[in-house]
């Protein structure tokens, strides 16, 4: 039998793969991470907000040296209609003290830095190499076939951290084809502006304080879409993510969507005068708990986006990826003590994930994707009603307030219906329990 080249081979050097690699390398395990880009991060994209906690647990105080943009002190939600914007959110000085809650980041820079930490911990990172398929022996995963000449590599366990476009779990039958309801397409622009201009426009006092804006509401015409504006040090990340099924149904071009969002009266003054530096697109697995593949097989585990671990409501993904990578690595270390890399031994990874916040959170929202698919109006009708009601309240036209309130209630009765409101509240409550 051929000797192993490595103990563990990780496919993909994103946050999930790098976290797994870091834990394993620190334990003295012979691990390789295979990356198809010319460097880790060169093909990676996210909206741009990274939550500190999961990585801090791995590399304490990482934020003092990692390439980060701004720490976020204010998080807003904007409900947009064509001509209006209703804003809610929280700015807190408690977010303005170290070690901070979250940061805006650029993945091409951040992942590259993380990868350096991982290779310093003595994991081998193999760039510019694509894993085309798994090597199986009697049904058990024993290695990977890469696109290099004589590129077969053997190991105890393969960890799939390939990201949203993962092929290896499917090749083992761990999941079916991804469908257009379970994934969103995100498009984003990085728009350069002087830091002082950003500080003024977003109301922060210096160039390390940041603001996030999530955008939803009737503006998106019942499309399951979310826009965003994030502040970086010298630029803004402006983007939109929309469920692919909706893009197809409404025949939408993602760049047109982004361009019209940038021209909205609430967004335009934020981006005005800026210069676009980069345009990018990436899929986001948003199907939640029920869209997850089976996470393990003989000699195989799935982590991060490849496992559909994204909490789209709270725009958390990279932190879940890191957590899952850590748990998969710990599972390998346990399995190694017993010399057992079977499905049964690796199923402990699933248990660890279930006990962590990762699957607890995904379970909390497990019914949400289906609810929003069935009741798309929830994201447009109620915010629209709210905007119109607020408009009436603030608009002084010599109609007495008591009459305005009567008008608003009548409108609620006519346009939505009291019974429907109660039904909707009940169904949201029941689905989020």
């Amino acid at each position: 039998m051929r000797k192993n080249d490595f103990d563990v081979i990780i496919v993909g050097a994103g946050p999930a793969g790098l976290a797994a690699g870091y834990v394993l390398a620190k334990e003295g395990i012979n691990v390789a991470i295979i990356e198809r880009g010319i460097f880790p991060g060169s093909k990676n994209v996210m909206g741009g907000i990274f939550y500190r906690s999961s990585l801090d647990d791995l590399i304490p105080d990482f934020y003092k040296e990692a390439p980060l943009e701004r720490h976020i002190i204010e998080q807003k939600v904007w409900f947009l209609s064509d001509d209006s914007m209703f804003s809610a959110g929280l700015k807190s000085e408690r977010y303005n003290v170290e070690p901070y809650n979250c940061f805006s980041v650029f993945r091409a820079k951040f992942d590259k830095w993380f990868a350096k930490k991982v290779s310093d911990a003595s994991a081998m990172i193999i760039n510019e190499t694509v894993v085309r398929e798994l090597i199986l022996k009697r049904g058990k995963v024993v290695g990977v076939r890469t696109d290099r000449p004589n590129g077969d590599l053997y190991c105890d366990v393969v960890i799939s951290a390939e990201g949203v476009n993962s092929f290896l779990p499917k090749s083992l039958g761990l999941r079916k084809k991804i469908n257009a309801n379970n994934v969103a397409l995100g498009v984003k622009e990085v728009i350069e502006l002087p830091d002082k201009v950003i500080n003024d426009r977003f109301g922060v006092s210096n160039s390390s304080e940041g603001v996030t804006i999530e955008i939803t509401g009737p503006y998106f015409n019942e499309m399951r879409a979310m826009g965003f504006v994030y502040t970086n040090r010298n630029s803004l990340s402006v983007g939109i993510g929309a469920v692919i099924e909706d893009l197809v149904r409404l025949k939408m071009n993602p760049n047109d969507l982004l361009e019209t969002l940038k021209s909205h009266p609430a967004i335009k003054p934020l981006v005005s005068g800026g210069e676009t530096k980069e345009y990018m697109a990436h899929m986001i697995p948003e199907g939640g708990y029920y869209s997850m593949p089976k996470l393990y097989h003989d000699g195989f585990m799935v982590v991060g986006d490849a496992a559909m671990l994204v909490n789209s409501i709270h725009r958390e993904g990279a932190n879940l990826a890191i957590e899952s990578g850590k748990l998969a690595a710990k599972t390998y270390i346990e399995a190694r003590k017993k010399g057992d890399f079977s499905q049964r031994a690796l199923s402990a990874y699933q248990k660890r994930l279930e006990e962590s916040f990762v699957l607890k959170d995904l379970k909390t929202y497990k019914n949400l994707p289906k609810l929003l698919e069935e009741k798309k109006y929830l994201i447009s009708k109620y915010p629209k009603f709210l905007i119109d009601a607020m408009y009436e309240i603030y608009n002084v036209d010599r109609v007495p307030k008591s009459e305005k309130i009567k008008l608003i209630l009548n409108k609620a009765k006519k346009e939505i219906g009291y019974f429907s409101i109660i039904k909707d509240i009940f169904s949201v409550w029941r689905n989020l329990r």
């Binding site: 198809r36 010319i38 996210m46 071009n253 990436h282």
Partner: protein
């Protein structure tokens, strides 16, 4: 800004030798209703010529998001060869 102008801002290492995108049955494009690949791709990789009844694939503009393979099962999508394809500066 048009997609074409935005694509100039992206770094690529183009694989001149082989395309990582293809169509398994070009005849299906003639029958396809709406041809979602032609409008849903964020890099405008796919376009259809009505006179020639042919889909053209500008694979070197691809940003490797994978959306096309979700909307059409006739599109053969694979990762570009190692080191080739899109290279983001920010990401």
């Amino acid at each position: 800004m048009r997609i074409e102008d935005k694509l100039y801002l992206i770094g690529y290492n183009i694989d001149e030798e082989e395309s990582h995108l293809g169509i398994s049955d070009p005849n299906e494009c003639k029958r396809c209703q709406g041809r979602p690949c032609t409008y849903v791709c964020p890099a405008g990789v796919y376009s259809y010529d009505d006179e020639e009844e042919k889909l053209s694939i500008n694979y070197d503009a691809c940003v490797e998001c994978g959306t096309c393979r979700i909307v059409c099962s006739y599109i053969t999508w694979r990762y570009p060869r190692g080191g080739f394809g899109v290279q983001y500066k920010f990401g």
